[in-house]
Symmetry: C2
Subunit: 345 residues, 2 copies
C-alpha cells in the first residue's frame, strides 16, 4: 500500500514530546491521570503475543557470551531472514544502536531518507556527520552517498519493490554509496526483503527481532550485509554486544518456523479485525502492516484524547496530525475496551 | 600493588588467539579435548557467585524499556558508585560497547594508554581515529588528547591514586583533552574511584556491572561523566540501549548494600585463599584485585597446559608469557580441582 506523504507538512517538524516514541506509557499516565488501569499500549508496532520465553539457565546471565554462541545465533538468523550465510550477519543489542554505526560506513556526505518515516534515522545520520535530505520518492535516493529506506515503511506501510531498490543500490555504487534498508517490519512482508541480496557490497539490511517476536525489551537486532561491512560493524560493536538471554531466546525463536507461520496468520487476521473496528468508528485506514494500522481522521486529536481517557495509548505524529497509528490489542479484554472507547457498543 | 610492565616486551604484540579474551571455554575445549568436564573457567575476573536473580515479569522482556525505568537505573547506579547525580550516568549494554563512543568524545588526536592493560582500549581508540601511544607511567598520560587508565588495572591490579589522576585531568583540560578511567574492577577498590569527581568536565569513568555482580551475560555497564558528556554518549546509544532484564536486575543489585558488603568480604577471603594455593604451588603472586590474582612463573606455559588438561582454564598473555591470571573458584569442588591440578594433594 503506497501512501504519498503530504507535501504541505514540514519535513522536519519537531515530534511531540514526551510521546515522540511509541511505548511511553509513563508519560501517557501523567497525561491521562484518571484513565482506568491497566493502560493498554497500542502505541507500538510490537506483536502483543510474544514468543513463549524458554527456560533460561542462570549461566546465560552469569557468563560472558562466547563467540561460538554469537555465531550460532548469526547462522539461525541468516536462515530465518534469508541472508546468504552467517558471515553476512552481525547480531546487535537492537537495530536502534546500529543506526549511527551503519551511517558511519560511508564518510560524511549526503544522506537521503525516504520520507515520512521513523525519526531516528535522520537523527543517527546527522550524528554521523551527514547532511540529511528527506525525499518524497525512491528515485530521490539514487543521488546520495547514503540512502535509507524503511521497508515496509513505518507508519504507512509503503513498500518499495526489490527491483527499484536494487537499481538504486547500483546507482549508489557509482559513488561508493550505500543503501540501508530498515526491514524492522519485514517479517510480515517477506517477499519485499533484500536479505538475499546483501552479498552485493553496498546494501545493509537491518532486521529487528523484538517487533515480530514481541520481545522488544530483550534488545536484539541484526545487520545483514556483505562480510566486509559486517566485519566493520562487528569491530565497533565489540565482542560482547549481545546479552546471553538475547542469544538464547533469539536462537530458539528464529529457528521456530511453525510459530512464525502461525503468528503470520494470526497477525493478518487481527489486522483485518482492527481495520473493521476502525472503519466502523469512522476512521479511514490508509496504510500499515499487519503489526500496526495507520488511520486518518480530521478528528485525530479528539480521538487520541478520547482513547487516552479510556486508558488506551495510540501513536500520534506531530508532522501528520491527522494520523493515528494503532498496534494490535493483546487479548479479548483489550479488543473490547478498544471497541468501547471507539464508541462502538 | 604496583607492577612495572617489563619494558623488554613489545608494547603491541598480537594477543594469543583464540584465547585472546577470557571466557572462551569453547576454544579451551578444542585445545584440551580430553579434559574432564565440567570445564572450570578461571580465565575471567568475574565474581563466580552472582547476585541472586530476582523473578522477572515477562513484561520486562516484551515491552520496550521506557525512559523512566532507564533513569531510575541511572539514579540507583549514581548512588551505588558515588556519582553526583543520575544526570551524570549513562547506562549502556556493557562498558565494552561504550569504548569507541567515549574515544570519539574528542576529535582524532593523540591517545595515551597506561600499559600493560586490557587490549580492547587500544583497539577502540584506533577505531575512533586516534594515534595510540602506550605509556609506562601515569605522567606519560598528561600530554595526550585522550588519556586512558584502567584503575585498578587489569591484569596486575595497579592503582593510580586519585590525586595523580586529578592532576592529569587538569593538565589534559588545557588542550581540551579527556581522561577516561576504566573502573571495571573498582567495586573492590572503592577508595580509588573517581566517580565522585566526574562533574569536572573532562573525566569519564566507566563502570562494569557484570564483573562484581557476577552477571556478565546480562551486558550492563555505565559511563559516569558531566551531564554534557553524558548527553553526547546517550545520543549515540539511542533511547533503548539497555535491555529490560538488565534494567530490572541492575536496579535490584546496585541498590542492595548488604549483598555488596558481604560480597566484598567473601571476595577478599577467597583472594587470600587463592594466594595461598598459588604460593604453595610455587607461583609468585605479583598483583591483582580480589576478583583475580596475577601470578608469575618461568613455567607459566607448562602450568597453563597442565591446568588445561585438568579442565581448568586460566588467562595467559601473549605479551607477558610469564604471567597467568587466576579468577576465583566458584565452589569447594572447583577449589579442590584447582588444588589437585596444581599438584598440592
Amino acid at each position: 500500500m503506497l501512501i504519498r506523504p503530504q507535501t504541505t507538512a514540514p519535513a522536519q517538524a519537531p515530534m511531540l514530546e514526551p510521546l515522540a516514541h511509541g511505548g511511553e506509557l509513563a508519560a501517557a499516565r501523567r497525561m491521562f491521570p484518571a484513565a482506568p488501569e491497566p493502560f493498554i499500549d497500542l502505541s507500538t508496532g510490537i506483536n502483543p503475543q510474544p514468543y513463549p520465553l524458554p527456560a533460561l539457565r542462570s549461566e546465560i546471565f552469569a557468563r560472558l557470551p562466547d563467540r561460538a554462541s554469537i555465531r550460532a545465533l548469526a547462522a539461525v538468523a541468516a536462515a530465518a531472514y534469508g541472508a546468504p550465510s552467517a558471515d553476512h550477519v552481525a547480531p546487535a543489542p537492537g537495530t536502534q544502536i546500529l543506526l549511527p554505526h551503519v551511517a558511519a560506513l560511508v564518510p560524511p556526505g549526503r544522506a537521503a531518507i525516504l520520507r515520512t518515516t521513523y525519526a531516528e534515522h535522520a537523527r543517527a545520520v546527522t550524528l554521523a556527520g551527514h547532511d540529511v535530505n528527506e525525499v518524497a520518492d525512491a528515485d530521490g535516493l539514487a543521488h546520495a552517498d547514503l540512502a535509507i529506506v524503511v521497508n515496509p515503511n513505518n507508519p504507512d506501510g509503503r513498500v518499495v519493490d526489490k527491483a527499484t531498490l536494487l537499481r538504486i543500490a547500483k546507482d549508489l555504487r557509482l559513488r561508493d554509496g550505500i543503501l540501508v534498508v530498515d526491514e524492522s517490519f519485514a517479517d510480515v512482508a517477506h517477499g519485499a526483503s533484500l536479505a538475499g541480496e546483501v552479498d552485493r557490497d553496498n546494501i545493509v539490511v537491518l532486521r529487528s527481532f523484538g517487533k515480530f517476536y514481541g520481545l522488544a525489551g530483550l534488545r536484539l537486532g541484526f545487520a545483514l550485509a556483505a562480510p566486509e561491512l559486517i566485519n566493520r560493524i562487528e569491530a565497533v560493536l565489540g565482542p560482547w554486544a549481545v546479552a546471553g538471554p538475547a542469544i538464547e531466546i533469539g536462537k530458539a525463536a528464529l529457528g521456530d518456523n511453525e510459530w512464525r507461520q502461525q503468528t503470520l496468520n494470526r497477525l493478518a487476521m487481527d489486522a483485518k479485525r482492527l481495520d473493521g473496528l476502525l472503519a466502523d468508528a469512522g476512521l479511514a485506514v490508509v496504510g500499515g502492516t499487519s503489526l500496526y494500522r495507520l488511520a486518518e481522521s480530521s478528528n485525530a486529536t479528539e480521538c487520541f484524547n478520547r482513547l487516552g481517557r479510556a486508558g488506551i495509548l495510540v501513536r500520534r505524529f506531530a508532522e501528520q496530525p491527522q494520523w493515528l497509528r494503532f498496534g494490535l490489542p493483546a487479548d479479548e479484554t483489550a479488543w473490547q475496551r478498544l471497541s468501547d472507547a471507539l464508541g462502538l457498543n
